[in-house]
């Protein structure tokens, strides 16, 4: 399971998990679950278009993810975004289906784009994936504190001179990059699970932001490893294992926190 084509899966999967865990943490803390759900839909059309044009899928994914992410940001600044955003993104899904229907492998391609493919990261895509991962990690490291402050305390952040709007754009771009990297392996429909399951558990376990991010990354990596191994062993789709493991992580987090809720040390 560790040789040949599977090497790509392990390497890419690990990098993907690190990015998903990090970006997912901020998604959860910012309450932007919607973004993590919507951007992959947009990227689906990009991947389909790329496939039709015979171009590297990552290119299609990247361009459409970026456009979707920034589009969502732009629309949400205009107020009442939900319906417009949802409709446009559903349209993107339909568009992707349309593009794929022109090709000769309609069904298998739809399946692997939506639900992921253990072998989804080909050798030609491995290096770009790693590069994207490095960029994501670098950017997040650089803006870690302003991003944290604007995510958790926007009012206070403004008073400190941190531009909430700028951080929002940075966040959206990072989400777009993370989406681009993750879709070939995990699929557009299950990417969301990977991004929120691990952070949801992590934040339940620890009170401190940096350890929470680290734990989120660790859980995401564990999720991917389990999913890849299980997919290899059973032949079942990797997306199924991602969804299931993420759900278990989330449940674990809820249970961990449950007895503590409401029990606070007595103070004045």
């Amino acid at each position: 399971m560790f040789s040949g084509v599977m090497v790509n899966a392990w390497v890419a999967g690990s990098v993907v998990a690190v990015v998903a865990g990090t970006v997912g943490f901020f998604t959860v803390v910012r309450g932007s679950a919607f973004v993590a759900h919507a951007v992959p839909n947009g990227s689906f059309a990009g991947a389909a278009a790329a496939s039709l044009a015979g171009v590297n899928a990552l290119l299609g994914l990247g361009v459409f993810s970026l456009l979707s992410a920034l589009g969502i940001g732009w629309l949400s600044r205009r107020g009442r975004p939900d319906v417009a955003t949802a409709l446009v993104l559903t349209f993107m899904l339909g568009l992707g289906a349309l593009f794929l229907s022109f090709g000769s492998e309609y069904e298998p391609q739809v399946y692997s784009l939506l639900f992921g493919d253990v072998l989804g990261v080909s050798s030609r895509e491995l290096v770009p994936t790693l590069a994207l991962g490095a960029v994501c990690v670098l950017v997040v490291t650089l803006v870690l504190r302003p991003l944290l402050v604007t995510s958790m305390l926007p009012e206070v952040a403004r008073a400190h001179g941190v531009s909430v709007a700028t951080m929002e754009i940075v966040f959206l771009i990072v989400v777009a990059l993370a989406t681009t990297m993750t879709v070939p392996l995990v699929g557009t429909l299950l990417l969301f699970s990977l991004m929120i399951g691990a952070p949801a558990a992590a934040r339940a376990v620890t009170n401190r932001p940096l350890p929470a991010i680290a734990l989120s990354v660790a859980l995401a990596v564990a999720t991917i490893w389990i999913a890849i191994a299980a997919a290899y062993a059973t032949g079942f789709p990797v997306g199924f294992f991602v969804g299931a493991t993420s759900a278990l992580s989330y449940a674990f987090g809820r249970l961990w926190r449950a007895p503590r809720r409401g029990a606070r040390p007595s103070r004045w």
Binding site: A86, G94, L98, A244
Partner: protein, 295 residues
């Protein structure tokens, strides 16, 4: 008159069996989704519709696995999910999106598994497309009575309950004060929503279905504030979108990719989007000036 029709309707349109079925099913579904969708938008329950839809995907896949018509799978899964949502109380906003997202993800993962099993053990092709993107032209005509019955019941429920529903959506406290059981009305509505979601999934697929539910409703609400009128308008818009979708998809058999036709669901969703954008432009021009949204 015929000369006018020919460019719009490709030959054989009016006599084709699948087209009749598609139109019948699509019309019924569009009407009920229009009515129910208005309240989904008013109650801010689009996320619930999304969740129900994705859980339905798992149900639809199971149907294929056991050889049932997908409609029953969508329905069962949706009804089950609605019951659970009702029991754990979806009113609490905190953490709701996250919980819904996890459920959604798990359901889609299950759908992935089931569809894989279908492809492996039944060798059926088209299950993935059918469940997720719909296959309106492939619906069995024998399903029409069930679809119509479900549509009538759901639309009827929402129609009968529209005033208590409206009041409890706007202010649960006010509704309570008038003796309305907010919980009961909410539960009934959730059921109607689940049925509509299943019907929409049958029409344009589990991951596109919410467009038919939310789009025409949101469009209608931009054009009128009156809920009753909004429900009617929303149904009409939905029907238009579905018809446009069916016509264009049928015509597209003659278009580029060699006699395969473009997916119906694509045209329906595109039409819904066009109508929504159109209504936004129309509403804005009616007001004359740009909305001063910035504080």
């Amino acid at each position: 008159m015929n000369r006018l029709l020919v460019p719009v309707f490709a030959p054989g349109f009016f006599t084709s069996g699948p087209v009749h079925t598609a139109l019948a099913v699509g019309t019924a579904v569009a009407i009920v989704c229009g009515a129910v969708g208005v309240f989904a938008v008013v109650r801010g329950q689009s996320f619930a519709a999304e969740t129900l839809s994705d859980v339905g995907a798992a149900g639809g896949s199971v149907s294929f696995l056991v050889g049932l018509a997908p409609l029953w799978g969508f329905l069962a899964a949706g009804a089950g999910a609605a019951t659970v949502m009702e029991l754990i109380g979806i009113q609490r906003p905190r953490g709701r999106d996250l919980a819904a997202g996890i459920v959604l993800g798990a359901s889609l993962g299950l759908a992935a598994l089931f569809l894989y099993l279908v492809a492996t053990y039944h060798g059926t092709s088209g299950a993935t497309i059918g469940v997720l993107f719909g296959s309106l032209f492939a619906v069995d005509p024998s399903a029409i009575p069930a679809v119509v019955a479900l549509s009538v019941v759901s639309a009827g429920l929402v129609g009968l309950l529209q005033r208590p529903l409206l009041l409890s959506s706007l202010s649960p406290d006010l509704a309570h004060a008038r003796g309305i059981s907010v919980r009961f009305v909410g539960a009934i509505y959730l059921l109607a929503l689940a049925v509509s979601v299943a019907l929409a999934a049958l029409t344009i697929g589990a991951i596109l279905g919410t467009a038919l539910l939310i789009g025409p409703a949101a469009t209608a609400l931009r054009l009128t504030r009156h809920p009753g009128r909004a429900m009617l308008l929303s149904g009409a818009i939905g029907v238009l979108a579905v018809w446009a979708g069916v016509v264009l998809s049928y015509d597209s058999y003659l278009w580029p990719p060699r006699g395969r036709g473009w997916p119906v669901s694509f045209f329906v969703v595109a039409s819904v989007l066009v109508f929504y954008v159109g209504s936004a432009v129309f509403a804005r021009s009616r007001h004359g000036r740009r909305s001063a949204g910035r504080s």
